[in-house]
Symmetry: C2
Subunit: 127 residues, 2 copies
DNA sequence: ATTCATTGCTTGCATTATGCAAGTTTTTTA
DNA sequence: TAAAAAACTTGCATAATGCAAGCAATGAAT
């Protein structure tokens, strides 16, 4: 649970704590190069925005993994928290501009999967 | 033990070993959703094709990981082995059509990294 | 022909991540 | 107010990763 405190002093920490190389592909994979992160982003792009929504996706992400991924996505500025639309006190998640700009990545991966992995199909269209 | 031939696992891979869902993104991530596979494919797209080339890339992939990834890429039909161009007896690797068709994915990830990860830059252009 | 360095791996082992089940706390609903 | 749902956390077993070392097969040099 990050305590979201805004610091005013200039960042001393380098932009990347432990970057393997300055290659943009390598750096991108440091952020979402795993089997779950892009699935959470996919769900967000499809309009799902609650913890339970991600959990109920067909791949069945374990809740401890989901907590970890959401935390990392918040840290890396791809996701932010907002009040849930039901007016209650719980929070929901949404993509920032940085996260939303992964749509071309998502589309290219989806297209590749549809073309080369037999039996795949798009379950939900993005509205 | 024979060298460089058989995998340790049973390898009776059915069309879909254990697919998490029929989602094309999920299935694609089952194949290259990790921190190393796409870097090997990047190197192949840049014209590198030998084990030592992959090892000498700036990210420093461990050789056991590289062996595993090459084996999986062969299994999934994204990479094939060919005689090395130096006329010797050693083999090299190259992308199949399936692997090469990941270029749009690679490009979208590279573009995203360049746009959103400060300090990244393309080290080698693809010829 | 013998030595030597390079290539392409494999092995062993410590560390880290993943996956599963269960438990906990807060919020919402009945 | 009691119960259910939501959003996590914790514990623990298993798997993946990362590092160093080792080793057999080339290829090059002597």
């Amino acid at each position: 649970m990050p305590k979201a405190k805004a610091s005013k002093r200039p960042l001393k920490t380098p932009p990347t704590p432990s970057r393997r190389s300055p290659c943009p592909v390598s750096c991108a994979l440091d952020l979402f190069g795993d089997r779950w992160t892009l699935l959470v982003i996919r769900d967000l792009m499809l309009g799902r925005n609650r913890f339970k929504d991600f959990v109920s996706s067909p791949e069945g992400i374990p809740t401890n993994i989901l907590s970890d991924r959401l935390e990392r996505l918040l840290e890396s500025g791809m996701v932010r928290q907002i009040p849930a639309s039901d007016g209650g006190k719980r929070m929901a998640y949404e993509l920032t501009e940085k996260g939303d700009s992964l749509r071309p990545v998502m589309k290219s991966i989806r297209d590749w999967g549809l073309a080369w992995e037999p039996g795949t199909k798009v379950l939900l269209q993005q509205g």
